[in-house]
């Protein structure tokens, strides 16, 4: 596991991200699952999101917790590593759902 990803895992834990988000479907149900987020969003977008934290829907004022640039880069590295872990087809993708039905 790359050093930056190891550091990113500690950032994930330090900020208690698991209370709202899930990884592998485990965690809080209030925010999106991030297991394969790096497949759909670019690193730049994710780092920018974490550094310049936006207001979270449906709140009007409460913002997503913000990180400094290094922590944000490490965290995104960790999420990139998580994405490489084979999850046996979970979560189901659209094509898979159509195949199943």
């Amino acid at each position: 596991m790359p050093e930056q990803a190891v550091a990113g895992k500690l950032i994930w834990q330090k900020n208690n991200c698991v209370s709202c988000h899930t990884l592998f479907g485990h965690g809080g149900y209030e925010a999106d699952d991030l297991t394969h987020i790096t497949a759909t969003e670019t690193s730049e977008y994710l780092i920018n999101y974490l550094v310049q934290a936006p207001v979270m829907r449906p709140h009007k004022y409460a913002r997503h917790p913000a990180l400094d640039e290094i922590d944000a880069e490490n965290l995104v590295n960790y999420l990139e590593f998580v994405h490489t872990i084979p999850t046996l087809g979970w979560p189901p993708q659209q094509e898979q759902v159509e195949d199943d039905s």
Binding site: V18, S19, G28, R57, H59
Partner: protein, 450 residues
């Protein structure tokens, strides 16, 4: 509590067990209030709170781990002396153990309130505090083993099973004091507490209470209960261990766990089915007259009900890999977790704690009715709350996982269900506070009997 039927606790361990049980009930009261605040936070935008949602949820989950643990420690000391009819090896050690477990448990809650944690679900506190809990579990295991070895000829199956359960609690928590870099190892180890504490260790520690209660109340004789106990212990270990596999489906483990996890989970239903059969037969042939025993039975039957429905049947349904593929990580899992964790484990620990704290007293008719009312309100609250979560989970599964809608768009549509969850949670909290107050009064009334 004015009709005293027994003036003194027989053993020092039984006196000491009362402080564990009372603390467990107080923490249970705190849990429903914390949980209700968290549920409100999800339906009221920008709700001001000194503790942010992510740490409030962590405290809620830590409470879910530790009030049953503390209650179990008390129950095991109480019922092991009842089983063996002798004092534990060291009452002094049991007193120290109480302060150790309370110190580290409260440290977890306190530091989480200060936003200091380790961010692993259900084990969000700093690892050092879990090491402290391990110390308390080591003291308990040592004390119980020495107690059994004092008179090797007279070890009963229930006493041995409770001791094994306590040792498992320690062995399963210990690896979780280590920080793993690899997320697969981290997730896998976490479920040794999240799954195996409940499905294996607590099953074993609860048998002492169930055995004693069934024998004393006349619901079953010793031969019947010991037959059940052997099977329960064997299946809890085999089913619990391999059943952990249903948490390993999508975390990077090989596909063989899909088969193991789903098939072995079937085994976990058998001992509960047998307990239901034994209780049914017992209730048909014997009418329980003691109000104290009847109130304990209300709590115990609540546990059995959720063990069958919320934990076993619903649990089995979502362990089917094709179902799990879609429902995993939705509110459906949360509904199941509430029914399984509080429903089956919480109620049995409450039943045991009430039984321990009410030793030497018999409630008046009014007090008994108050206790039953609290149990009914708790049950209705839990059913409303969990049903709302299950319904939200079904909708979420369909819109998010099947139709592929955006997560947040779906989440906003779940608000009505989350409001119903708050209503159920309010009812649950009312039942919780009423029952806790009732048990507190029992504790106060029986204090002088020590």
């Amino acid at each position: 509590m004015n009709q005293s039927i027994a003036s003194k606790q027989k053993f020092l361990a039984q006196v000491i067990s009362r402080r564990y049980c009372l603390s467990a009930v107080c923490l249970f009261a705190l849990q429903s209030v914390v949980a209700l605040m968290g549920a409100l936070d999800l339906v009221i935008s920008d709700l001001p709170s000194p503790i942010p949602f992510e740490y409030g949820r962590a405290i809620h989950l830590a409470l879910a781990d530790f009030w049953p643990l503390i209650g179990t420690m008390g129950m095991v000391y109480f019922f092991i002396t009842a089983e063996l009819n002798r004092e534990i090896h060291s009452p002094r050690l049991a007193r120290w153990q109480y302060w150790v477990v309370m110190l580290f448990t409260l440290s977890i809650f306190g530091t989480l309130a200060l936003r200091l944690g380790n961010g692993r679900e259900f084990l969000e506190g700093k690892p050092i505090f879990y090491l402290g809990i391990c110390l308390a579990l080591t003291l308990a295991s040592y004390n119980l083993i020495r107690t059994l070895l004092t008179d090797r000829q007279n070890i009963t199956p229930a006493a041995a099973t409770m001791t094994v359960g306590m040792i498992f609690l320690l062995l399963l928590l210990l690896p979780n004091t280590i920080t793993f870099s690899n997320p697969i190892v981290d997730e896998a180890t976490k479920f040794w507490v999240v799954h195996l504490w409940e499905e294996m260790a607590f099953e074993l520690t609860s048998v002492g209470f169930i055995a004693t209660f069934f024998i004393v109340s006349g619901l079953a004789n010793r031969t019947q209960i010991e037959k059940w106990l052997y099977l329960e212990a064997a299946l809890a270990i085999v089913g619990g261990l391999y059943g952990t596999g249903h948490h390993y489906y999508w975390i990077g483990f090989p596909a063989v766990w899909l088969v193991l996890g789903s098939l072995v989970s079937l085994v976990e239903v058998i001992p509960v089915g047998m307990l239901v059969h034994m209780t049914y037969k017992g209730l048909k042939s014997k009418k329980i007259r003691s109000r104290r025993e009847k109130l304990t039975l209300w709590l115990l039957l609540s546990s059995v009900f959720y063990h069958i429905t919320g934990a076993s049947l619903l649990g089995l349904f979502i362990t089917i890999p094709w179902v799990n593929l879609y429902m995993h990580g939705t509110y459906f899992t949360s509904g199941h977790a509430h029914l399984a964790l509080f429903g089956s484990l919480g109620f049995v620990v409450l039943a045991g704690c009430y039984y321990v704290l009410s030793q030497g007293s018999e409630p008046t008719l009014k007090e008994y009715k108050g206790g039953v009312l609290a149990v009914i309100i708790l049950n209705i609250g839990l059913i409303i709350m969990s049903s709302a979560l299950l319904a939200a989970g079904l909708k979420e599964t369909y819109l998010w996982r099947v139709l592929g809608m955006d997560f947040m768009d779906v989440h906003l549509l779940l608000n009505p269900y989350l409001i119903v969850r708050v209503l159920g949670g309010t009812m649950f909290a009312l039942g919780d506070l009423l029952l806790s107050w009732y048990i507190f009064k029992v504790w106060r009334a029986t204090k002088s009997h020590k």
